[in-house]
Structure formats: structure tokens, C-alpha cells
């Protein structure tokens, strides 16, 4: 198989890579670009651990081909904090102890950020539905949902 040359934007930086035609964006990020924040859980789009945004749209990077990223804009968990300053969602997840093993956390943060950009004041039910595709096998979700609602309140200045 001949490799495909891709130029794309990741977290605002222009990035070039070579990938196999059947390689997923998740594998490209982790194995070629060195961004290992997106995790592989199921690799079939069920668990959300590999969530990234593609042109601002929340997607599972395991369900995107690396070759499809040509000319697009990707954001990953690595682009979330501003230097050492954590995003309010990251801070509330930490402060609320809303994680145990941490595998699902990057995906949950990316998905929650996409929600708050669309809806800064979601109800608990809306948060639960939005995050239905982000599986966590440790926490029972309650602290995650609370952390997202608390971060949303802080970001609204409430």
C-alpha cells in the first residue's frame, strides 16, 4: 500500500503526516503525531474515548480515516488547557474527583466542551444524553455530570 500525504491543522498547528489508506485518525494521532490523549476503547464508535472535533464537529476519531483529515481542522484534548491553566471543565473534573482510571476522561472533556459551546446552560438530562456515547466503567457517571454542570455554571459566570 502506498502511503498518503496529509496536511491538516491540529489544535491550531499545521501538521503533516504520512498514513496508510486504511489507518484511522485515532491511530494517526497516537502513532504518528504523538498525541496520545485520545484513547482507543472499542475502536468501533461505541465508547467515545477517542473523541476529537473535526471542523468543530464532535466525532469519534476511530471512525475517521487519517486520509480524510486533509485540509480540515482537528482539536484534541491536548489543545484544551491554555498552557498551564486548565480549562474549567478539566478543573471541575479534577476537583470533583470525576474520574478513576482516566481512560474515558479526555473523550468526556472534548464532548462536554462541544456541548457547552452549543448550549452553555444544559440541563442534567441534556448533559446525560449528550454524553451517552462516552462510556465510563468506573465512576457511575454522577460526578462527571455534576462536574460538567458546575463547569457550565462557572463559565456562564453564574
Amino acid at each position: 500500500m502506498s502511503k498518503i500525504h496529509v496536511t491538516t491543522s491540529i489544535n491550531g498547528d499545521s501538521v503533516e503526516y504520512l498514513c496508510e489508506p486504511d489507518e484511522s485518525l485515532l491511530d494517526v494521532l497516537r502513532n504518528h503525531v504523538g498525541l496520545t490523549g485520545a484513547k482507543e476503547g472499542c475502536s468501533t464508535g461505541d465508547c467515545g474515548a477517542c473523541s476529537v472535533t473535526l471542523d468543530g464537529r464532535l466525532v469519534c476519531s476511530c471512525l475517521v480515516l487519517g486520509a480524510e483529515a486533509e485540509g480540515r481542522e482537528i482539536t484534541t484534548i491536548e489543545g484544551m488547557a491554555d498552557g498551564d491553566a486548565l480549562h474549567p471543565l478539566q478543573r471541575h473534573i479534577l476537583e470533583g474527583a470525576a474520574l478513576q482510571c482516566g481512560i474515558c476522561t479526555p473523550g468526556i472533556l472534548i464532548a462536554a466542551k462541544a456541548l457547552l459551546e452549543k448550549n452553555p446552560d444544559p440541563s442534567e438530562v441534556e448533559v446525560r444524553y449528550w454524553l451517552a456515547g462516552n462510556l465510563c466503567r468506573c465512576t457511575g457517571y454522577d460526578k462527571i455530570i455534576r462536574a460538567v454542570l458546575n463547569a457550565a455554571a462557572e463559565m456562564r459566570g453564574a
Binding site: 500500500m1 498518503i4 496508510e20 489508506p21 486504511d22 484511522s24 475502536s43 468501533t44 464508535g45 461505541d46 467515545g48 473523541s51 473535526l54 464537529r57 464532535l58 466525532v59 469519534c60 476511530c62 471512525l63 475517521v64 480515516l65 486520509a67 480524510e68 486533509e70 464532548a111 462541544a114 456541548l115 444524553y129 449528550w130 454524553l131 451517552a132 456515547g133 462516552n134
Partner: protein, 287 residues
């Protein structure tokens, strides 16, 4: 495997037509990439159609909407005018997968994946949606009902691509709805499902009706005879009971770990009844 993302439909068809092996058309990829990963398919060629003109557009056309083959569920959900004309189709598509899957999954992909349980398909059949297909011999149209041929099988010929799906204009006082049964609240595959589209006159009397069932046969079922039952009524209890029994009688489901034949048959009828009531209220009827 070769990956191409052509700029024109002609190039895409040529690539598919010349391919001698297994090929896949890529739009949202939420089924194709799963097939790849689970080695359910090992394509020699993938043709990404997202760069072709019109594939990502929702266009108003003759009072209806033409939805390009690469339009995502999330984009449909955000389109207020589409949602207001065909709420049942949009809500059916919105039930496919998670928020992440909605960011990529397409109406056309849901149709072409040809799962008997595809959520958007009964809603599209009730809406009398029509696919536009382009292939080596030119363009043709085909009712969505006639695309699925069996589980995982479609009636599309070699190198044919569905480029868009048209949801037609509808008279005043029309409404549609889609309901499915799943054992959980989210993120599951329909055990049984029903799509209903109704038109009423000014006095809450049904003048046109379409009912389709999902996940209870190898392909979507269009219940053509049911219109007679509903037309001329205000969906009174007897009519709804008749609708339920007609639907149940049409079911030819399988027994599997997600539902028994008896359960699928019973729930399909109940869902049709409930979806009819929602469609009736959306059409302006009072209950």
C-alpha cells in the same frame, strides 16, 4: 487498499466502475470504518464522496428538501425548516448512535448499510422519500422503499451512488413521527420500530396516511393497505386498534437475543399506534 476523494461524481463513478475488487463509498464512515476494523469487509478501494458538489448540502426544492448523501445527522437536526417539515424523519435519524456518531452518520449511509433495524428508513418510507442515484448509465430516481434488498443488501447496481434523498413537499395539516423500542434509553439498535405520516383536512379527519415498520422483517415494511383503515377517521380507539392489529399481522420478524418474534410483533403494533397519535397531533389534530 486505495483511497480516493474525487471532486466530481463522474470521477467517483469511474473509479468504482473500473474497480474489480471490493469497494466502499465513504461519506460519514460510521458503518464503513466499523466494517474495516472488524474485518467484516476488506475493501480494495474506498471512494470518499464528501468533496463532490452538493453532497454536503440541504437544499429547498419544490417545497421539499433535498439532502445530500454526505449531510450528517447533526446537520439535519440543526436545520430548522427541514425539522419543521419532516420532524419524524429528522428525529429518526437523530436516534442513530451517539452525539459523536451524529457528527458523521448520514441518512444515505443509514439506508445503504441496509440494516433491517435502520432507524431513518421507516420514517423515510412513510415520508415517501426518493433517492437520486447516479451511475455509469446516468442518473435515475428510486423510492427509498425499493433500495433495501435484504440485510446488508441493496438494489444498487455496480458503480451506482446515491447522491441525495428527496423529502417531498406536503400539504397543510400534515405531520410525521417515528418511534422505536430499545431496552435502554440511548445508544441501542431498534428491536421494533414504526414511522407514520398523516395528512388531515381542516376538521381533524385523516385524508392521507403512510405507515412503515422497521426491524420486523428482512427489509422495511410499507403497510400500503393501512391507509384505508385510517383515512376518513379521527384516529378513534377502534381505528387505532385496527391499525395495531394490521401492523402486527404484517410483521415477519426474527427471534434473537434482542427480541422474540412475539415481542417484536406486539411492540411494532403498539409503536405504530403511538407514532400515529404523535403524527396526528403534529398535523394539527386534537386528541
Amino acid at each position: 487498499m486505495q483511497f480516493h476523494s474525487p471532486d466530481t461524481i463522474e470521477q467517483a463513478i469511474e473509479l468504482l466502475d473500473e474497480s474489480r475488487g471490493i469497494n466502499r463509498i465513504l461519506a460519514g464512515g460510521t458503518d464503513v470504518l466499523v466494517q474495516l476494523r472488524l474485518k467484516l469487509a476488506t475493501p480494495d478501494l474506498i471512494v470518499d464522496i464528501k468533496h463532490i458538489d452538493g453532497m454536503r448540502d440541504i437544499r429547498a426544492e419544490n417545497g421539499g428538501f433535498r439532502i445530500g448523501a454526505a449531510v450528517s445527522g447533526a446537520e439535519m437536526e440543526e436545520h430548522a425548516a427541514l425539522k419543521s417539515l419532516w420532524p419524524g424523519v429528522v428525529e429518526a435519524m437523530a436516534l442513530v448512535g451517539s452525539t459523536q456518531v451524529q457528527g458523521r452518520a448520514t441518512l444515505t449511509g443509514n439506508l445503504c448499510n441496509a440494516s433491517p433495524a435502520a432507524d431513518s428508513v421507516p420514517a423515510m418510507v412513510a415520508a415517501q422519500a426518493v433517492a437520486t442515484i447516479v451511475g455509469p448509465k446516468g442518473a435515475r430516481t428510486c423510492p427509498v422503499l425499493d433500495i433495501p434488498a435484504g440485510p446488508g443488501q441493496t438494489t444498487l447496481q455496480k458503480a451506482e451512488i446515491i447522491t441525495s434523498i428527496y423529502l417531498p413537499a406536503r400539504p397543510q395539516n400534515s405531520g410525521d413521527a417515528y418511534l422505536r423500542f430499545i431496552p435502554r434509553t440511548e445508544m441501542d439498535i431498534a428491536v421494533s420500530a414504526a414511522g407514520v405520516s398523516l395528512t388531515l383536512d381542516g376538521n381533524d379527519v385523516v385524508t392521507d396516511a403512510k405507515v412503515a415498520l422497521g426491524a420486523v422483517a428482512p427489509t422495511v415494511l410499507s403497510l400500503d393497505g393501512v391507509a384505508e383503515t385510517l383515512i376518513g377517521t379521527k384516529l378513534d380507539a377502534d381505528t387505532l386498534a385496527k391499525l395495531q392489529s394490521t401492523c402486527a399481522a404484517a410483521c415477519k420478524p426474527i427471534d434473537d437475543r434482542r427480541g422474540t418474534i412475539a415481542f417484536r410483533t406486539k411492540t411494532a403494533g403498539v409503536l405504530a399506534k403511538r407514532a400515529a397519535l404523535i403524527a396526528y397531533i403534529r398535523a394539527g389534530g386534537t386528541k
